[in-house]
């Protein structure tokens, strides 16, 4: 189990959403709709013998310019609990990330708002993913 394998696994799950560009590192240029997988925090020593660490990842989904109505429609689709475009469903479609972790859960989508990339404002949502590995 490695952080890189977990990040890669989450990205692979997200790539099942048609039309969503997925990045495992922050790209120089963003072409929405795009998802960026970022490591947020790690809690080490959750069991003896290194039996468990808890990783918190943030998946930022950038849907488009903040003023575009299409951006807001994309956001609804990506935020749905289920459905072909649901980020939660896609990330949880393979909860062991093909062996990269023991289990994961999309805890919440706590933030929706504007982010600035290259002097442009985009509408984005953040998904909190907790990975047990």
């Amino acid at each position: 189990m490695s952080i890189a394998a977990i990040r890669s696994g989450i990205a692979a799950n997200l790539r099942t959403i048609s039309g969503l560009r997925v990045f495992e590192e922050i790209p120089d240029q963003v072409s929405p709709p795009a998802a960026i997988v970022s490591l947020n925090s790690i809690q080490y020593h959750q069991a003896f013998s290194g039996g468990l660490n808890i990783f918190s990842f943030t998946v930022r989904v950038i849907v488009g310019r903040a003023a575009e109505r299409q951006a807001q429609r994309y956001l609804d689709l990506y935020s749905e609990p289920t459905g072909d475009s649901s980020c939660k469903s896609a990330i949880e479609s393979n909860r062991t990330l093909s062996g990269a972790c023991q289990d994961l859960i999309v805890e919440s989508m706590p933030n929706i708002g504007s982010i600035t990339v290259n002097e442009s404002d985009y509408l984005a949502a953040e998904f909190v993913v907790t990975v047990y590995a």
């Binding site: 003896f48 013998s49 290194g50 039996g51």
Partner: protein, 138 residues
């Protein structure tokens, strides 16, 4: 002197190392208190130790895979005695600084199904010790 942060105490149940499924282990050995106060006690109570006993508290992460905790501690063991070996001080083998404690414990409780939605499935037990505990430093 070497105080230590718990990261890897070792727990073996019936010969299987289950440490990776354990988040907390606490062995407590106790003695009853027998009052021997008499007229010569100078106005204070006097006591001696009576029968000794022990208990082992463990916090587990549920795991039904082969050699996971639920594959080792199965429901048919409830009501039976099981040998459990602990190595303290984050040790993997007994030494002066990482002594082992071996004893028989009564599996008096298991929770094969546990946890609220969204939480890691865990369960805690406290097994009473039966007989003495053997300590080893080598």
């Amino acid at each position: 002197m070497a105080k230590y942060v718990v990261t890897g105490n070792k727990v073996s149940i019936a010969g299987t190392d289950v440490s990776a499924g354990v988040a907390r282990a606490e062995l407590t050995i106790t003695s009853t208190e027998v009052d021997v106060t008499d007229f010569a006690s100078g106005g204070f109570t006097e006591v001696v130790g009576g029968l000794k006993s022990g208990s082992l508290s463990l916090d587990f992460h549920s795991d039904f895979a082969t050699d996971g905790i639920n594959d080792v501690l199965t429901e048919d063991l409830v009501g039976t005695l099981v040998q459990i070996v602990l190595i303290a001080g984050n040790g993997t083998a007994p030494t002066d600084a990482t002594p082992s404690y071996t004893a028989n414990f009564l599996v008096n409780s298991l929770s094969p199904v546990s946890g609220a939605v969204g939480d890691l499935s865990t369960f805690s037990v406290t097994f009473p010790m039966s007989g003495s505990v053997a300590k080893a430093v080598a």
